[in-house]
Structure formats: structure tokens, C-alpha cells
């Protein structure tokens, strides 16, 4: 037995997009045998390097090709709407073109519905039911309808989507954790389940105080606040880039000591309620303070004074970061363009294996392995 917590767990990804690919990537890292059937959907080359690492790939033009895998898998991941007759087939992106994935899913759904010992996870923009279930969506559309976009960006400008593919990634991360929960339940209680993850709901469930605040107080929508919720909670230009501070009330005195201005001892700044009325004046002081500090200065002052400081780091900065190197965070995966470095384990303490390039294998061989393996 290896020290990989998911050693021996069989995962089938059917024609994955970003979300299913991300969930599968994490499961593979923790030791699951993740087999990607069919071609990934709408993934760039870089996304394929990241999301297919550590998996095996099989060709699948029809469900007949992967039926044995569907019958033996412990977990099936898709990011398509699963048909439940008489619902229509999943909509193909290329209308008017026969979509093999649709046939695969129809048949997979029929087979999987007969099994009690499998976790089936679908990750879709709006979930498996409801009036928008068949709506066309991208990362931007799903994130916009989840509420977070309305809160992001400058109040004088249009709402702004967060960088990367956050709607997709949130769907994948939720699917990863939900899958593990359901798999544990299957180990303990003996039965699997079908999990319906909606990207919209993933976002709508995490609207911080703004969502419940609007619902509870009836005060209407929260505005966008750009980079400054208030003076002690925001991002500022510093001498060599951008840096941020996020103080709770208990941390404000330490931050004020660093600002080192006697005026901050006055009631209008010391009292949190009055401080809010003088936020512009305080912001000007904070701007000036950050402008005179480098990112290195700020990172040193944070832990020394227990003030929550940060700096805006790029992926390149993180790849060169000593602390992450010391913790062994990044994996390396070989590509045709060289060695790519990608995030490794999302947490330490449970067995994780380094990334390897995806391996193309014969579907019959995998079917034989899976059918012979002891669950």
C-alpha cells in the first residue's frame, strides 16, 4: 500500500472542461487513477498542461468505447448537463454538428443510474435543473450571475471579472471537496450519490457580508469599492509595485504606530465610528506611507508588528518565492516546450505525487486493470 490517500480509486473524466479537469487534477495528485475519456473541451494549451498532468487519456468516440470504464469507476466527473430522459440532450457548442460527447453522456447516465456504488459529479454553469439549466455560459457569464463580479472593480467603471478562470476553478474546487465528502460517505454508509454543482451557486454562496446584508437589511445592492473598502483595508501603490493592508480593529493601533503621525491619536481617528467619517484624510496618510516603502520593507514589517500586510505577487514572483520553495509547493511537469512548473498539493500532510505528463493508453488495457482490481 502506498501513502497516497486515494491509491486505487478509479476516476473517469468524460470530455472534461476546466472545472472537471481541475477537480480531477487534485484527485490525481492525491493518488487516484484518473482516466480522461475523449478530448478536453475548450482548454488552451497551458490549461491542458496544468489540468491533464498526472492523468491517463483514452480515445473515446462513443459510449461503447468507455462503457467498461463507466461500469468500474468509483467516481465519474463531467461538466456537462446529464440527461435524464425525457430531458433533451446536452447542447453542443457547435450547433448542427453531431456531438459525440452528447451520446457518451446519454449512455453513461443510463448505466450509472443503475449503479449504487459510484459518485457521479456534474459541474455546470447553472446546475442540472431550473429555467437557466440549458443557458450557454462561459467563465465570465457564470461568474457575473454569481454576484461577485458586481462587487469587483471601480465604482465609476463597469464591474470587473477576477483574473484567471475563477468561476470554473471554484466549480472544480467545490467538486473536488464534495467528491471526497461523498466518497467518504460511500465508504462508510455503502452507497454513492449524484452531485450537482452549479458554478452560479458556488459564487452566490460566498458573497461575504454583502449578500446576506442586502437580504437582511433590505438596503439594496452593495456598491463596488475598488481597492479600498476603507483606508485600513485596501491595495496601495508602493515604491516598487503594489501592496495591501487589511486591519481588523484590534490591529489598527499597531498600524497607526507604523504610520507614526501624532494626529492619529485624536479621537476622530482612534474611534472606529468617527474614523469612518475621516477616511479620506486617513487614506491620504496611508498612500503616502506606502509610497515610501518597498515590497520587501512591507513584508518585513508585517510579521514584526503583526499587521496584516501583503504585496501583489505575480506568478513569476511566486515561482521565485523562497518560502514556497522551502515548502516544496510547486511540481514540475515535462512538456514539448520544456519543463513547466505548476501548483502542487493544495495542502500538506497527506500523500501527494509529483506531476507527470498525461499518458495516452489503450482503453481496453484500462478496462482490464479496473475490472481486475479489488475495489
Amino acid at each position: 500500500m502506498t501513502d497516497l490517500p486515494l491509491d486505487g480509486v478509479r476516476v473517469l473524466e468524460i470530455a472534461p472542461g476546466y472545472s472537471a479537469g481541475f477537480a480531477g487534477r487534485l484527485l490525481a495528485g492525491f493518488g487516484a487513477d484518473v482516466v480522461v475519456a475523449g478530448e478536453p473541451r475548450d482548454l488552451t494549451d497551458d490549461e491542458q498542461v496544468w489540468l491533464l498532468a498526472g492523468k491517463r487519456r483514452v480515445a473515446a468516440a462513443s459510449f461503447a468505447d468507455i462503457r467498461p470504464l463507466a461500469l468500474a469507476a468509483d467516481i465519474v466527473l463531467v461538466d456537462w448537463r446529464l440527461p435524464s430522459p425525457p430531458a433533451p440532450l446536452p447542447t453542443s457548442r457547435e450547433r448542427g454538428v453531431s456531438d459525440p460527447a452528447s451520446d457518451v453522456l446519454v449512455n453513461a447516465a443510463e448505466v450509472l443510474r443503475e449503479r449504487r456504488d459510484v459518485i457521479v459529479v456534474s459541474i455546470t454553469p447553472f446546475g442540472q435543473s431550473g429555467p437557466h439549466a440549458d443557458y450557454e455560459a462561459t467563465n465570465l457569464i457564470a461568474f457575473a450571475m454569481g454576484g461577485i463580479v458586481s462587487l469587483t472593480g471601480h465604482e465609476s467603471r463597469e464591474p470587473l471579472v477576477t483574473g484567471g478562470n475563477q468561476a470554473y476553478a471554484l466549480g472544480g474546487l467545490n467538486a473536488f471537496s464534495a467528491t471526497l465528502a461523498a466518497y467518504y460517505g460511500m465508504l462508510v454508509h455503502g452507497e454513492g450519490d449524484w452531485i450537482d454543482i452549479s458554478l452560479q451557486e458556488c459564487s452566490a454562496a460566498m458573497l461575504e457580508l454583502y449578500g446576506p446584508g442586502s437580504a437582511f437589511t433590505g438596503m439594496g445592492a452593495s456598491p463596488r469599492r475598488g481597492n479600498h473598502l476603507r483606508a485600513v483595508w485596501g491595495i496601495y501603490p508602493c515604491a516598487d509595485g503594489w501592496a495591501g493592508v487589511c486591519c481588523l480593529e484590534r490591529q489598527v493601533p499597531a498600524f497607526f504606530r507604523l504610520l507614526d503621525d501624532p494626529v492619529l491619536a485624536e479621537e476622530r481617528f482612534a474611534d472606529p465610528t468617527l474614523r469612518a467619517e475621516n477616511d479620506d484624510e486617513l487614506s491620504a496618510m496611508v498612500y503616502a506611507w506606502f509610497a515610501g516603502k518597498t515590497k520587501a520593507d512591507i513584508l518585513q514589517l508585517g510579521p514584526e508588528h503583526r499587521v496584516p500586510f501583503g504585496v501583489v505577487m505575480t506568478p513569476g514572483d511566486l515561482l521565485a518565492n523562497d518560502s514556497l520553495a522551502e515548502r516544496g509547493f510547486f511540481d514540475t511537469v515535462q512538456t514539448r516546450d520544456g519543463a513547466a512548473r505548476i501548483p502542487g498539493r493544495p495542502f500538506e500532510g497527506l500523500g501527494w505525487r509529483g506531476a507527470r505528463p498525461p499518458q495516452r493508453v489503450d482503453v481496453a488495457g484500462v478496462a482490464r486493470e479496473w475490472s481486475e482490481a479489488t475495489p
Partner: protein, 410 residues
Amino acid sequence: MKKLPFEGVRVLDLTMMWAGPFATKLLAEMGAEVIKVESPQAWDNIRTLIPQPGVEASWDASFYFNDYNRDKKSLVLDLAQERGREVFLQLVAKTDVVIENYRADVLDNLKLGYEALRAAREDIILVSMAGFGKTGAERHHVGFGPIIEQMGGVASLTGYGDDGEPYKTGISYGDPVGGIAAAGAVALALINRKRTGKGSFVDLAQRETMATMIGEAFVASSLRGEDPVHRGNRSARWAPQGIYRCAGEEQWLAISVRDDTEWAALAEVVGAAELAGLAVDERRARHDEIDTRISEWSREQDPQAAMERLQAAGVPAGRVLDSDTIHGDPHLLERGFWVELPHPRMAPWKQPGVVWRLAEANPHLRRHAPLFGEHTAELLRDLLGMGAQELAALEAAGVTSNAPVNPGIG
């Protein structure tokens, strides 16, 4: 009815603020018995973060606190006192999981590190979720969600592009991301214990979890040295894509066009049929012009009607729902996403329901967040067999309490 996955799992929850409580909220939704442990002197700041002048026992009447702490039990125990720690370790012996999101050194300073917990229960699972982990040169950094987002690379990818400024997400994004991953860590550790009989110490650095959300950016950086490019709401692949103003105050519509067919449909709807034949490269080159044409149309449109019309034409479009309009979204309403739970101190309001929709086990919200110390006596009596005299002694010593000491603004 099928059992929830974590039925029978007990969690001692030392987490506070958002990241940790979001994790344990998910565990509770999946059926775990989550016991939220707070001290009379150091309670969860979320209870008092939003001032509520004049509200009696305001720490029990916070919608913000309630959102993250539903379906949990409240146990008040002063872990700074020796007696409090003794009681805590007695509870650990009857617990599967301990989870905390303190600063990296706090749990050890309390003499409640992993080895102390293991001494109480050999196969205990400890999940620690400090911002920067328990090891490494930056382990002593302090940070909340926005700091995690900055230090994890995501903020560097977000921006309009014409002002050179990176932007934070409008929520403390690092917190729920860390929480979702931590819930997964608990599940994985339980699977591992089932498989091996052994407990685990999981060290989750929220900054690393955040970096995992942008894996492809590390591929671009490591293979080609690419720095982040701020594209606003545009796509590197597709065009046009953007967020367009609609009729009414702060009403917006997001549109993504992925192929020529979708573009032709959009061009027709917005009255730009003469541009319908543009290929993607041409659309990208003329994006500003196309945005102007779309905006001229959209500014006269109701966002809901415009979304429905574009979707009917096969164009990916979505209303930018805000913190208010999202509660009236017909789709979320039909899926029963918003739930109103009775609460002894507050009138009901729409709260987000369960995101991990297990079709057959059917998890659903059961109860409002606990009042401060609501279950202290019940838990100490039922789990440790304490009698009335012992409970009174703990309260007299300030180890337990039914109210925070000197609650101010969080």
C-alpha cells in the same frame, strides 16, 4: 433517506472569521456534528464586526456571523486557562477532527499542538489553515482573504488594463477558497483514516490554495516568462466579450462570443448585421468599435430581458446580478437556493443554501447559527458526564460563559 456523508463525524471547530467557519459550515451541511469553540475573552470576531448600536446581545444577532455558522453547536471554553485546556482535551478524546485557522504559532502556544491532541486521541485529525502555513520563511505573516489573494497571485491577474492597477476581488476571496479546500482536506483525511487507521496533521496554507486557482498562469510564466496581462473583461481567446451597461441604475449585462455562429446571432440582435461576417481576428482587432455598437443597443435594454433574448438566440449572456438582485433571480428561486431559517433574535432573511447538492442524501439547512454558549452545558454534560456542580464551577472560574467579555467592535 440516505445518510449524509459525515453523519457520525464529530468536529471541534476552533476557527474564526471566514475561511475556517466556511470550511466547517460545509462539514455541517454534509452531516458532521460541528462544535464551535469560542473563549469568553476571544470570541469569533465576525459576531461583532458590524456595529449594531442598541441591539441587545448583538453578538447573537449578526446576519454576517449567522451566514457562516449555521448548523453548528456553540461551546464556550477559555483555552488560555489550564482547566479550559483540560476540558478541551477530554473532548478531543471523543472527537474525529480538530480544525483551526489561528496564526501559525497560536495552537502550539496554547499547548494544544498536534502531539498534545494525539496524546488525547491517537487517530485524531488536525487541520490547520494558517494563511502561509506552519513552515517556511513566511509562516509568521498575518493575513486575511484580500492579503491571501494578493500574495497568491490572483490580484496580479485582475485589472482593467488601462490604469496599470491590479484589483482585489470585491469579496475577501482568499477566505472561502481556503475554506472549501479545508473541507476537502478533512474529507481526505477521513478517507485516509478509514484506509489506514491513522490520523493526520494537515497543514493548509491558504496562500497556496489560492495559487492553485490559477495553475495555467504558472505554466505561462515558467515556460515563456509571461507576466500577467490585464484584459478587463475581455478574453484572450474569444471576441467580443465584455460587460455592457443596460437601462437603469447600475444594470449590466455580460456577453461572451465563442464562435462565428454566436457572433452572427449577436450582431443581428444588436443591429450590427453588417458586421456579422467578421472572423475572430477581425473582431478582436475591432473590439472597441464592436463594444460601442453593443453598448448602444444594451443601454436601452432591460438586463433580464436582454439576457433572455440573447440566450434564445444562442448567445452566451448573463445579467450581472448584484447583492440585491441575486435574491430575485428566477433560476436560483426555482432551484430553492435561498432559504429562510427561523432565528430567535432576527427576522428571517434569504440565506444561501447548500452548494454541494447530493441528489439522494439531499443535504439541507437545519438550524440557525448557535447563540454564544448555547450548547456548552449540554455538550459537557452529554459528552463528558459533568454535573451541575462542575458546570457551575467552570462558569464561576470564567472558563465558560454565556456572553463575551467586553464585546466591542470586532
